[in-house]
Amino acid sequence: MVTAETAIKVRGVSHQFGVEGDRRFVRALADTSLDIARGELLCLIGPSGCGKSTLLNIIGGLMEPSSGIVEVRGQHVRGPLPADIAFVFQENSLFPWNTVIENIELGMIFQGVAKSERTARAAEALEAVGLKDFAQHYPSQLSGGMRQRAALARALSLQTPILLMDEPFGALDEQTRMILGEDLSVLLARSRKTIVFVTHSLGEAVFLADRVAVFSARPGRIKQVIAVDEPHPRKPEFVTSAKFTSLRNELYGLLHDEIRKAVQQSAAAGTAPAALGRA
């Protein structure tokens, strides 16, 4: 599955918010290195505020790291790379004044895709995520799960080799999440994209990932990388298998102490942990 070719190369990346000595200074990410192979789905998992979203934003060129470098397909990342990388965010990032179809086309307008091709690609993407009948709806008329499907369709329509997903199902309920995870697995197995997927959910990580990178509490660094050796697309039965359970338990063991540490940290700082990681 994992080919030798590297799509994303992260070298010695660390990041801090604010200036040292400042009251709001936060060391979010410490000296992280990582190789992500082409076609691989890598999950980043870790306690709140460990810098996993920060790392994702740095890979995507939305943030500049305080030190270290990121290379995407051989080029040094210095800003957004819309031709190579598409994002799906946790927060609803659809433009509320546009319908679903307009939202999907807008990304392609930004990239100068011709009108006829836009229409075709948008229709295809909508079909793929199962929203064909909701093209003319406004985001406010959709459920949270459908909004995230639309955001995924927008990202897919950009036809980038790399997809970065920042807790895309984080705000959804457990059942919606499960269904979306299953659909996503089918969809992505077909697309052969390189994907980095940030999540809080142990089950989601095991179910989707080829490899899971476990982060330590702040300042986040990669504690361990666990391989999930199971062909794509993953079947729903995988969830009830012994392999799934043992991997999930392994992750739980790795994470438990870190999460406790993170909660104590944020209690000591008197701040909500989630507020710091994302900007």
């Binding site: 819309p82 031709a83 990388i85 990032s93 546009n98 990239q111 406010s140 950009l158």
Partner: protein
């Protein structure tokens, strides 16, 4: 808030389901009260009943100069509104799009908006004369600031994720303005236009009423001095209807352009 629902008769049930009907009854009752008071209790030199006011509306329009004055006022309102919106929008964008400019000049705009402009009404008349120019100018200064303030707010309270999303998809600065900031601003711009219309109405009517030797102000003064409440009420009623219609037009436009805000 927590409505107790005791047993009700048929009429009660009908009314419960139709608040607009009850509203209509309240309005009718108020007019009835006015009618009774004017007929029975108040000196006709001060108050005339609504039936008489409506019946003699044609005599108001028949008064020499009244139709022309009303027409001129409508013209002033329209011109002042267009100018106030245009100036307010340009000013709002100029101030709102640049953080440093916004921090410097927005407080000044807010200060001006909060000032009782009516204190400088006499100045406007001295500068621009008693004709349409002074009334339009006074309407513009009343109407433009609400537009500016809402445009600045509209540009500002954009969810950061939308900008980040657009940037991640490779939007240029112009595209971000055209496809993100501008559409986000449109509903608040229309809300601003509604407030701007209230401002323009206030400004123009203040100036009209202030100048008592011409226009609307001349006739209100005349009718007051003649103790002719029928005509005075008629004229005021016509102006109030004009204001209601103009407000309704802007409200319609606002509702139309804020369709996506159905959260």
């Amino acid at each position: 808030m927590v409505a107790a629902a005791p047993r009700r008769g048929f009429a009660g049930r009908v009314l419960m389901r139709r608040p607009w009907l009850a509203r209509l009854i309240v309005i009718t009752a108020l007019f009835a009260l006015w009618e009774i008071a004017a007929r029975g209790f108040v000196d006709p030199l001060f108050l005339s009943p609504p039936s008489q006011v409506i019946a003699s509306l044609d005599s108001v329009f028949g008064t020499r100069g009244v139709p022309a004055a009303l027409q001129l006022t409508l013209f002033e309102l329209t011109v002042a509104f267009v100018l106030a919106v245009a100036i307010g929008l340009v000013l709002g964008l100029a101030i709102g799009l640049q953080p440093l400019v916004r921090r410097s000049f927005f407080p000044i705009v807010l200060l001006l908006y909060g000032m009782p402009q009516v204190t400088i009404l006499p100045l406007f008349i001295l500068f621009f004369g008693i004709g349409a120019a002074s009334k339009i100018a006074f309407g513009v200064t009343h109407g433009m600031f609400p537009v500016t303030v809402t445009v600045v707010a509209g540009v500002q309270n954009l969810k950061p994720i939308l900008l980040i999303g657009a940037r991640s998809m490779g939007a240029s600065r112009w595209q971000i303005f055209r496809y993100v900031i501008f559409p986000h601003m449109v509903p608040s711009f229309f809300a601003g236009m509604r407030l701007g219309m209230s401002g323009v109405l206030l400004g123009v009517l203040l100036a009209e009423l202030y100048v008592s030797i011409a226009g609307i102000g001349y006739f209100t003064t005349l009718f007051t001095q003649n103790f002719d409440p029928t005509k005075l009420l008629g004229l005021i009623g016509v102006l109030a209807v004009m204001a209601i219609v103009l407000n309704a037009v802007v409200r319609r436009a606002e509702a139309h352009f804020a369709r996506w805000r159905t959260e």
